[in-house]
Amino acid sequence: TLRLRHATVVTTKKNVAASRRETYTQDFIKKQIEEFNIGKRHLANMMGEDPETFTQEDIDRAIAYLFPSGLFEKRARPVMKHPEQIFPKQRAIQWGEDGRPFHFLFYTGKQAYYSLMHDIYGKLLKIEKHQNQLQAKGLLPEKTETRDLIGSRWLIKEELEEMLVEKLSDQDYMQFIRLLEKLLTLQCGAGEEEFVQRFRRSVAIQSKKQLLEPVQYDEQGMAFSTSEGKRKSAKAAATVHERGSGRIKINGIDYLLYFPVTQDREQLMFPFHFLDRLGKHDVTCTVSGGGRSAQAGAIRLAMARALCNFVTEDEVEWMRQAGLLTADPRVRERKKPGQEGARRKFTWKKR
């Protein structure tokens, strides 16, 4: 028997217009920039501030005030930024009316990258020739270069792609870095230095951006400082007194009774022993949550942070390099479906 089955045919039109990359013309971008500037002045007037000195941070604050949004995704919230940051950079048409491209390396596909490599290699050859000439004459200057390579880093691949408005592969990027390093090994003049500095970004000056809590003074004039620490779901708050006899009280209980395990007590002693101040400070702390080891780790972090106030900057840096001042980000990994635990899989049965 035949049964008539009704089937609905749904036709969907592919959104051809949206899948093509949108090209923004120069005029369009210029108009957007003008609109942005005018809007910035209007916003400044609305907020009652000076339109001349209205910075981007002020704009962000004003927009957050005027359009409060409860969305969790920060990128989905209303934003008012310079069009350069919003619209992706696009290259102008690279060929003339007759179809001939302007740049001589256009047919390589990555003309900006290859022309940059060409320039760098040209500079390298020039410097080598110059040095050979000097060496032939015997006027080779001594190596008195002490460039500050520590405070800066090379551009990362994303930044280079953004600079050249072109997609690069990893090998291209590594080749580029290798060339620049080679250029650095040779001595070069001021012009080349500046050229190379364009491809370096400064690194965060010494990642010891510790938030130092101010020292408090209680009665009898003794200084003490409080700070918090946490590890794995244990939260601790420690108060370290400047002068004491090395007693540690946790939730009102002595440390020897609270931590019967040697390992935990060693952790408590670690910051003090590291700074040779074992019997010189008194500590009172409260801790909650976590397990035995997590609580010990949390108290250790809190004590180390509190000690920063009583200690020189060098010693703070030593503590940081010993790993005493970083909060441990490791937490329990979740169990995944289809597996027995976080990593353990079910027994594999062949049939």
Binding site: D170, F270, F274, A322, G323, R343
Partner: protein, 169 residues
């Protein structure tokens, strides 16, 4: 035990541990193991003497290293490592290997009991021996342990060589 799962897509194969998949350290290789720290985090160095050295004694390289270290973020020190004089990395490693089911308390107590028993035996031998032998008897259980480990190390290693279609050791 599980080797880091690294997919070699460009002929590169190397063990790169503890790197987030967002950052490709080598071209053509994707990392599958990850850690909560980013790739720029360095391991902490817990050595009091190393930091207490005066600046004048450092060589150029060390000065450069120190300056470089200041710009790098550092991981937190693990719970098993301290700056205490009583800590021994070999003993800690052995304790971890002895540990079953995460019962570190039991493993560590067993370790300390063992070392204490070794020390007791050595002291008994010491008190029962004559003056010349007393100089040769080793009473520090840590040195005995290290020496025992060294004695257990293999002397020769075998490598499979392919010759004539058969693997010879």
């Amino acid at each position: 035990m599980a080797a880091p799962a690294v997919r070699a897509a460009g002929g590169w194969s190397s063990l790169v541990l503890g790197v987030r998949p967002a950052v490709l350290r080598l071209p053509g290789v994707t990392q599958v193991r990850w850690s909560r720290y980013g790739p720029e985090y360095r391991d902490p160095k817990i050595d009091k003497e190393h930091y207490r050295k005066p600046v004048a004694e450092l060589t150029e390289e060390e000065k450069y290293d120190r300056e470089l270290k200041k710009t790098q973020p550092i991981k937190a020190a693990p719970a098993t490592k301290t700056s205490s004089v009583f800590e021994d990395p070999v003993i800690s490693k052995f304790t971890n290997m002895m540990m079953k089911g995460g019962n570190k308390v039991l493993a560590r107590s067993l370790m300390t009991q063992t070392l204490e028993a070794v020390k007791r035996k050595q002291f008994e031998k010491y008190h029962a021996a004559s003056a010349e032998e007393q100089a040769t008897i080793e009473r520090n259980p840590y040195t005995i342990f290290h020496q025992a480990l060294k004695n257990c190390e293999p002397v020769i290693g075998l490598v499979p060589i392919l010759k004539g279609g058969h693997f010879y050791q």
